[in-house]
Symmetry: C2
Subunit: 165 residues, 2 copies
Amino acid sequence: MTILDSETKATEHSDDHGDELRLWLRLLTCTTLIEGEVRSRLRERFDVTLPRFDLMAQLDKAPDGMTLSDVSKRMMVSNGNITGLVERLVQSGHVDRRTSEVDRRVQVIRLTKSGRVEFRKMAAEHEIWIAEMFSDLGEKDVRELMRLLGKTKLSVRKAADGRVG
Amino acid sequence: MTILDSETKATEHSDDHGDELRLWLRLLTCTTLIEGEVRSRLRERFDVTLPRFDLMAQLDKAPDGMTLSDVSKRMMVSNGNITGLVERLVQSGHVDRRTSEVDRRVQVIRLTKSGRVEFRKMAAEHEIWIAEMFSDLGEKDVRELMRLLGKTKLSVRKAADGRVG
DNA sequence: CAAAATTACTTTAAGCATAAAATAATTGGA
DNA sequence: TCCAATTATTTTATGCTTAAAGTAATTTTG
């Protein structure tokens, strides 16, 4: 019977999900390690937090500015969160915020000149840190990991969307 | 000269780190997606947060209990964080906390009987959710991803340790 | 043995994050 | 036109997270 069951893979899914669980934990560990390292280096080197760095990275790609909603979607975080984050970046002089002329509900934010200069410095080092952390992986590994994570992303989205929409 | 430069790979590292950066962003996206999905399902189905679930998962593996420091190390979060998390789980009746008889600095925590029963239910569903999210990946993909992430983990640790210890 | 160092935990202050409710501006019909 | 629905953002309440400082118990050491 045991043999028979283990052969009955035709039924789409096996009931042993241990491998996927271990994969998820390993994925999480990698992300947590890298993120923690980036956070502490950003803090040490530039006295900046990761959320602020991420927000500035979005703005750096949008010379004409972005609305808070745009930022919120791109960063995959809540609206209310962005409000506070932007407020702190305005205080520190990295970001400029103004109300849109055409739609007074909308806030358009941009990097200030000095904010942009500072960000570029951070980004340059950041890129080196990341490369260093992945340096034991060969070109082929990087390509293959990229491919498998792309596949994972699609799979997760499918499972997530299937539940709501 | 351009050709010459691009051939000068003998100098260990190239200066283009774009691939690694893209890889990191994709890794982060995958983790964020999965984590977000798990968070919202835990909340909907069991009215529990991910940190509480994670803490209970640690305790489930330690029938004789753990000290707060143990938990802190295992979960890779700060001590102060654990204090608050445990306090809330004690309030909700999932966790039992007592001062060690042999060392009165030490707090030993365990799942309560009902906490364990509840956690096992959550864990069973959680495992299915994860398997579902990875379901587009074949066995070979899972194995390969596992291998590459293992390599990544080592690489990151090396880069991180190299900086401090 | 007593002072100093270490260990375990808690508290504090600040920031990040969310969901849900509130506010304010704009748009789309009837 | 006007008012209902929608959209953009802010506010509120709650919880997670950290680093740093504080407290208390134990261990080390002179």
